[in-house]
């Protein structure tokens, strides 16, 4: 009886094991399918943009759609600058985004370092205010910021737009870097440097800054992409033709019919607008991942 009892238990346990492994396999398949669907959802528009930039407008509009160009051509890239000054817009975007990114990162680094390291009156209040700015919808800032930039006489200037970008990026950048300083740059590093012969400033310059490069890279790419992808502020604060950024330029081009009649040129311009952000991302992605995750584990 005991033997049959054991067999009975073994049989049940075996069936449970089998169904458990089957469940695991089904879960893996389900995860794979969902991941593939999400990837398709994200990548198909990118693929459509890329392949369309190598096709004629007629081929793009063909029904059924032609997914792979029969005779890939660079004509759209050659012609796009005739309709809108793509390279000029691109240059405007690069300049504004880079300057905003560098200045915001430097200011955020200094501010975050002070907030992470020093005790002073109202430090908590300042941090709370910085956090609160993140809760306010950007659209509500339109009127005050526009009026402010106007009162400074900076409408239709790169300086005005750059200042706006710096201001919008700073709160998040400060919070991110403050967390980085607190978790990834232990105060003992500065103390060791000060015992070794550094002043507060030289300890910051020689030790903390190099150690913080991953965090700064993360903030740099974040502020750059913020500025690069912006449409709202660039269209509000700059309205002279040649001063437009690439996002506004392409947007205007689309609204003026370019997206239909010259859809291949439009797609080529979109590819050109995407490339700098991708290059920047690939360049700093190692630091970016390190910067965002450093300090999360010991």
């Amino acid at each position: 009886m005991s033997v049959s009892g054991v067999e009975h238990v073994n049989g049940k346990a075996g069936r449970r094991l089998l169904s458990s492994s089957r469940r695991d396999a089904l879960t893996r398949i389900a995860v794979g399918v969902i991941t593939a669907l999400i990837l398709i959802y994200i990548l198909v528009p990118v693929f459509w943009m890329l392949k369309s930039s190598f096709q004629s407008a007629l081929e793009i509009r063909a029904n059924p759609p032609i997914w792979f160009p029969g005779e890939p051509t660079l004509k759209a890239y050659e012609d796009m600058d005739r309709l809108i000054p793509v390279w000029r817009y691109l240059w405007n975007s690069v300049v504004v985004s880079l300057i905003a990114s560098v200045i915001a990162t430097l200011i955020a680094t200094a501010a975050a370092y002070v907030l992470a390291r020093f005790r002073f009156p109202f430090a908590t209040l300042i941090l709370t205010l910085i956090l609160v700015t993140q809760l306010i919808p950007p659209i509500t800032r339109v009127f005050p910021v526009y009026t402010f930039i106007q009162s400074l006489g900076l409408l239709n200037t790169y300086t005005g737009l750059t200042l706006a970008y710096i201001g919008f990026s700073l709160p998040f950048a400060v919070l991110l870097l403050r967390g980085y300083f607190e978790t990834s740059c232990p105060p003992e590093l500065e103390e060791a440097a000060m015992v070794d012969g550094c002043s507060h400033f030289s300890a910051f310059w020689r030790i903390i800054l190099p150690v913080s490069l991953p965090g700064m890279a993360a903030v740099g790419i974040f502020t750059f992409l913020n500025a690069w992808n912006d449409f709202l502020w660039a269209s509000l604060l700059l309205n002279q033709g040649s001063m437009k950024t690439i996002q506004v330029g392409i947007g205007d081009f689309a609204s003026e019919g370019g997206g239909v009649q010259y859809v291949n040129l439009f797609m080529a311009a979109c590819v050109v607008a995407t490339v700098p952000a991708v290059i920047m991302f690939l360049f700093v992605q190692r630091w970016l991942v390190g910067g965002l995750t450093a300090g999360s584990v010991k």
Partner: protein, 359 residues
């Protein structure tokens, strides 16, 4: 050259005083260990010597110079941190030579000094590695190397072995002691581990609640603790302490709080009949007796811990816990009654109220 003196040193955080007037004189070349429980102020005191914390009042001198107002870099001290605080973006050689570069010393001289320190600490093959490529023990040695290349008046160590595993800690303990013997530089060393303090120090400073409880050589503190705190802090396992009242009659027994009596023997001479006292006896001075008599009492065994070299018998007398450390490899069942005897020549008596030594 490397004397360190502290005169009535106090530290306040706002209205809260955390160090209550520390006086201490450390001779040139001495190895002094500050030991005490967490929060006793030992690290704060070390950081004040280093200049990483301000001194509220009192005087700190290093090498005969008043350093209260000097920044850390001008105090001629080097410090080894608990977390090593190695610069992660620099190689071992750059870490060790960093302080020399700041002093505008020539590259050749820096290389020579770094090589010499690396040789002492067995770091030569690791000079071009980054800190992340080193083990805990190697990092610890680099931190020491960074300190010794400067040839400072005094080394300050802030719990440098706390992050190492037990085996490496024992090894590094010996290395630090041998380094001190070789260099002869003053060392002020902070630890909460009394074994580290006992094995390394020329003198130990026992701190508690922002005050110095006792200063003395390791064996002096072990044999003659000034009060009950020192008695219980120094020694592992800790000293057994029995609280009770000296009997009013002539038998000189201690009536224990929670029941039971202990014979006091000749050591009762410092205590008055009726006085509340605490009797301390080290575990190695508690032995298994043949039978209960005038110098032994009945105890109930709770746990037996064999360590190989000795056996720790955890028992209770009445409700008072007692640990006996015996050489024999014994087996007892929990709850078993055994007679325990004390070496009355080695017991310590403390006042029941103040905790001060009375014998």
């Amino acid at each position: 050259m490397g004397e360190v003196t502290l005169t009535d040193v106090r530290k306040n955080y706002g209205a809260l005083e955390v160090l209550h007037g520390i006086d201490l004189s450390i001779s040139d070349g001495e190895f002094v260990v500050l030991v005490g429980p967490s929060g006793c102020g030992k690290s704060t005191l070390l950081r004040m010597i280093a200049g990483l914390e301000t001194t509220t009042s009192g005087e700190i001198t290093v090498g005969g110079r008043l350093v209260n107002k000097l920044p850390p870099k001008d105090r001629d001290i080097a410090m080894v941190f608990q977390t090593y605080a190695l610069y992660p973006h620099m190689t071992v050689a750059d870490n060790m030579g960093f302080s020399l570069r700041l002093r505008s010393i020539s590259k050749a001289e820096i290389a020579e000094k770094v090589a010499r320190a690396a040789d002492i600490l067995d770091l030569t093959p690791l000079l071009q590695r980054k800190p992340r490529q080193l083990s805990g023990g190697q990092r610890q040695r680099v931190a020491m190397g960074r300190a010794i290349v400067r040839n400072p008046s005094a080394f300050l160590f802030d719990e440098p072995l706390s992050n190492l595993d037990a085996k490496l800690r024992v090894q590094m303990r010996a290395e630090i002691k041998s380094l001190h013997q070789r260099l002869g530089t003053t060392i002020v060393y902070v630890t909460h581990d009394q074994v580290e303090a006992m094995t390394m120090a020329d003198r130990i400073v026992v701190m508690n609640g922002g005050r110095v409880e006792q200063v003395g050589s390791p064996l002096d503190l072990y044999d003659h603790p000034a009060n009950m705190f020192v008695a219980q802090f120094i020694g592992s396992p800790a000293m057994n302490v029995f609280h009770g009242r000296v009997s009013e009659d002539q038998d000189a027994v201690l009536e224990l709080e929670g029941g039971g009596i202990l014979p006091l023997g000749k050591r009762a001479t410092g205590a008055e009949p009726g006085q509340r006292i605490s009797l301390g006896v080290r575990p190695e001075n508690v032995r298994l007796a043949e039978e209960v008599g005038t110098t032994s009492v009945q105890a109930k065994v709770m746990v037996v811990e064999p360590t190989g070299a000795e056996t720790l018998v955890n028992a209770v007398i009445g409700q008072s816990p007692v640990v006996a450390s015996v050489k024999e490899r014994l087996r007892f069942n929990p709850g078993e009654e055994v007679p325990l005897g004390f070496d009355f020549g080695e017991v310590h008596l403390f006042d029941g109220e103040s905790g001060d030594r009375i014998d």
